[in-house]
């Protein structure tokens, strides 16, 4: 494409358009409407629906506007008799096989076919022959199919190929017998699959959880920010009667473009889970009793004060909390003399904290992601961590970028890329090899590893690609951050980035991971994102050295922690646990003494700071359920009741403004001094557990989204291991096995999987049963059940 402008005339109106673009792009930009079904701005042109036919002067036949490039002096008529005749003719043919079952169709009222038929259809059908009927297949828990309504625009097929990167839908058969579908009965497993609901111009693909629940005209649309991953995708919530009925993407070209992940789309179901905590509760003699807010708050404040020594309290905050909640929680606790504050619940190693005095972030803007030429991901399955970010990386790969992965499991990529798979214990060594290939000298923390590293072809290639690139990232993903030697991986990755001229990227794992650092919701940084005067204990030390009391905010013991069993034992042994939570779970009830019901996503206003440091505010748009209250209000009152100054906020905006001011001079920077005396903690010579946190196990809200929990990506309580490893452990032929870790043991179903490296057993974290074990990376034994 060139930047040259051409002049065209549409319906007598003169337009300037970039040479080479399609006519429909020029008319769309000028606000001239041309009907269409198959054309979509983010997908390739297929020109198969023929609805956008227009008349072009000196061309004998009507031309499809979506596939006709503009040229200088072109004269176009979109509503001339010839154009209208073509459009109406197309409409009539499209309706031949369409069932016209609008009264029972979920798309009714927001259907592109309905809308266009009003403008271009006939009042009465001339067609009296039989219509096609297509048998539906079940394509999973998220998307309902009525393929008889399909008009073969192929948007869903192109989406799979071009955006999701896995082609699951296709057009099978020919002519009259052509159908869009999966051909075989299979679920559509892409983590972005819900977008085909939006793309489908008719009611062939609709939302299954939303099915038959409401009509489009009954819904009110409000904006929100997605509260799960660190992208902060922009959402449109559709509400009726104070209830979120469904979630759609809101276009934001620099974040989520026009897509959202299935997690952001369907997690709203969790809001209406039956175990929402709806009134303040206090445990008396092992029994939970509902109490008034006044009483609960007074008891909570009194018991926090009673502990006396602030250092005997641990503060554990969910990284999906709003910025205001995180800021107030740490302000409250620091006011009580407690510096033990952390929100990095799934991090495995905190040795980097000592020398960190800036806020860690993505290391690049999101829109620059697709321009990267080389990305080296260490310990990350980005597709199943942050799907929209993975889409950006995939775009880079499609544009020719070199992607390299170093992981303790072979992952499913939806683009070209090289994978280096090794056991968790070998990861630091393999990373050291790449650093050595890039010329990093053996010194500092990784010295012994760098010295011992064997540089092979793949390490050389990765280093060379990082060096050669104009725009390169070394990215530490969620699995790296959960690694017990994260500090080593971090140090080596930083040295590698330095040596190759690449940016170091520390992928923030949660909606407010960057926000938490800015708010001071980590033990080593204070509000404003600078080094804390007195550093407190990190998550791991708070649990390893149990405190007398804990304050939990939006956290579920067990499933939200790096080491589930450790979190349970530490919290259960405490004298006093005050939990501010939206949900009650058996684990929380076992640990807590006071539960304060909190409003969450959609029910409370708040700010999220995304991976690139962008502050985005969300409003509270539905009433909190039961007696629950926004977290910032609860924390404000606790501030008042503990006699602290500076807790007189009228609204959350004031809290936002106060923190924003503190952050004026803060910088996002991944550079830091190397901590001293780094030695590997994870042995390479024993049988190790490896574990990820599955896509839909990451936070309390999504774990309660029923449809998402029925998908593949929900993960399963299983032991996965290589067939040869199973044979070595004497487990061939067994269906289950007994796994022991840190003195805990459970039996789990066994699944043979060649993607797991030998010397490693894969057990995901965050799931109902696996969270009774220990950390995702560590020594385990597996034996016959």
């Amino acid at each position: 494409m060139t930047d040259k402008l051409v002049t065209i005339e549409v319906n007598g109106q003169e337009l300037q358009a970039e040479a080479g673009i399609m006519l429909i792009e020029a008319t769309d930009a000028a606000g001239i409407n041309i009907p269409r079904f198959c054309y979509h701005k983010k997908l390739s042109v297929s020109a198969n629906c023929r609805m956008c036919l227009v008349e072009v002067e000196k061309v004998p036949k009507p031309l499809p506007a979506c596939a006709t490039p503009v040229s200088d002096g072109m004269k176009v008529y979109t509503r001339s008799p010839k154009a209208l005749a073509a459009q109406k003719g197309t409409m009539e043919f499209l309706l031949i096989n369409h069932p016209l079952d609008c009264p029972i169709c979920d798309q009714g009222g927001e259907c592109e076919l309905q809308d266009v038929a009003i403008g271009y259809g006939r009042d009465v059908s001339r067609y009296s022959e039989g219509k096609r009927v297509v048998a539906d297949k079940n394509i999973g828990p998220l998307i309902a199919t009525d393929m008889t309504r399909c008009i073969h625009c192929t948007r869903c097929v192109r989406f799979g190929e071009e955006i999701a990167g896995i082609r699951e839908m296709g057009a099978t058969g020919r002519g009259e017998h052509m159908v869009i579908g999966t051909y075989i009965e299979k679920s559509v497993d892409s983590e972005l699959s819900g977008n085909i609901i939006d793309l489908c111009p008719v009611g062939a693909l609709t939302s299954k959880p939303f099915r038959f629940n409401a009509r489009a005209w009954e819904l009110t649309q409000v904006e929100a920010i997605a509260p799960h991953d660190s992208l902060g995708s922009n959402l449109n919530l559709h509400l009726r009667d104070n209830k979120v009925m469904r979630v759609h993407p809101k276009d934001n070209e620099s974040i989520n473009e026009t897509w959202i992940s299935d997690r952001d789309r369907f997690s709203y179901e969790g809001l209406y889970s039956s175990d929402r905590l709806t009134s303040p509760m206090v445990k008396k003699g092992g029994e939970w009793k509902e109490v008034s807010w006044e009483m609960a708050l007074e008891m909570a404040a009194a018991s926090l004060k009673e502990i006396g020594d602030g250092d005997q309290i641990g503060t554990l905050l969910a990284p999906t909390s709003t910025l205001e909640e995180l800021f107030l929680a740490q302000k409250l606790m620091r006011g009580l003399g407690c510096n033990n504050i952390d929100s990095r619940l799934r991090q495995g190693d905190f040795r980097m904290d000592a020398t960190q005095n800036s806020v860690h972030w993505l290391g690049s803007s999101l829109s620059d992601m697709d321009q990267m030429q080389t990305v080296f991901v260490v310990g990350g399955n980005i597709r199943k961590e942050q799907p929209i970010l993975a889409h950006r990386l995939r775009k880079a790969a499609v544009n020719g970028a070199k992607l390299h992965y170093l992981n303790p499991i072979q992952i499913d990529l939806n683009h070209r890329g090289d994978q280096d798979v090794c056991t968790p214990g070998e990861m630091a060594g393999r990373l050291a090899a790449v650093a050595k290939a890039a010329g990093v000298k053996a010194s500092g923390g990784g010295a012994s590893l760098l010295g011992a590293a064997k540089v092979d072809e793949s390490a050389k290639q990765t280093a060379a690609n990082l060096k050669a690139a104009d725009g390169a990232l070394v990215m530490l993903g969620a699995m790296a951050q959960a690694h017990p030697d994260y500090a080593l991986l971090h140090t080596l990755a930083a040295a590698l980035a330095e040596a190759t001229g690449a940016q170091l990227s520390i992928l923030p794992t949660s909606a407010n991971s960057v926000g938490a650092q800015l708010a001071g919701a980590v033990p080593h940084l204070q509000a404003g994102g600078t080094a804390a005067e007195r550093a407190g204990l990190d998550t791991l030390r708070m649990l390893k050295m149990p405190r007398k009391g804990y304050l939990l905010l939006g956290v579920e013991p067990g499933r939200d922690f790096w080491n589930g069993s450790l979190s349970m034992s530490a919290l259960q042994s405490a004298d006093m646990v005050v939990a501010i939570s939206a949900f009650r779970s058996p684990e929380l009830e076992a640990c807590a003494d006071i539960m304060l019901p909190m409003a969450i996503f959609t029910e409370t206003s708040g700010t999220y700071v995304n991976a690139e440091g962008r502050w985005q505010q969300s409003r509270g748009v539905v009433r909190p359920q039961g007696e629950s209250r926004p977290g910032w209000k609860i924390l404000r009152v606790l501030g008042n009741l503990t006699d602290q100054p500076g807790f007189d906020y009228i609204d959350s905006q004031q809290i936002h403004d106060e923190l924003h001011k503190l952050c004026e001079s803060s910088t996002l920077d991944n550079k830091q001094a190397e901590p001293q005396n780094l030695e590997p903690l994870l042995s390479a010579d024993v049988l190790l557990r490896g574990g990820d946190t599955p896509l839909y196990a990451c936070d309390p809200l999504v774990r309660r989204a029923t449809a998402l929990q029925q998908t593949q990506d929900a993960g399963s309580d299983t032991i996965r291991l290589h067939p040869q490893e199973a044979a070595r452990l004497g487990l061939d032929g067994s269906d289950t096995a007994l796994v022991k870790q840190n003195g805990n043991q459970i039996d789990l179903p066994l699944q043979l999987d060649e993607r797991i490296p030998q010397g490693c057993v894969w057990i995901s974290t965050g799931l109902a049963r696996t969270s009774t074990l220990g950390q995702p990376f560590g020594e385990v034994t597996v034996e016959k059940a």
């Binding site: 082609r167 699951e168 296709g170 099978t172 020919r174 051909y183 067939p723 993607r755």
Partner: protein
Amino acid sequence: MTVTVKDKTELFSPQICAEIDRWIAKYPAEWKQSAVMGALMIVQDENGGWLTTELMDRVADYLDMPPIAVYEVATFYSMYELKPVGKHKICVCTNVSCMTNKSDLIVEHLEKKLGISFGEVTEDGRFSMKEVECLGACGGAPMMQIGKQYYENLTPEIVDAILEGLE
């Protein structure tokens, strides 16, 4: 169930792999999937004239294609069979030229003689019938194709003779 990382040479017998590789070699390396039609034909012949979903999945793995893309090809072309067929697949053209030359009589005769209609297989598994569109032999209409052989200028008597001549 074991999740396996696919080793391509284990997907088909060495002989089949070699035959498919011959097709792959005809196209540029990055357009390996162009060999899908040839590969499906080879696999279909080997499997007694029809394709199972599992075989199509193997072709997809062999050519690094999404399975659905292979299903699209296999369902588009009438030369691929997705259900078992007889040892002799009789394809009768009923398109314009054959129709005006009384292909309906040929169809009727076959149906009576074999006791099956289009899309069916005789009980002994020897014959199946399929209605096809123009096979490009209008000069010899009415015509049919059995296996890879064309038979033209048909009459019921000629059809009888042809069928008797088959194994």
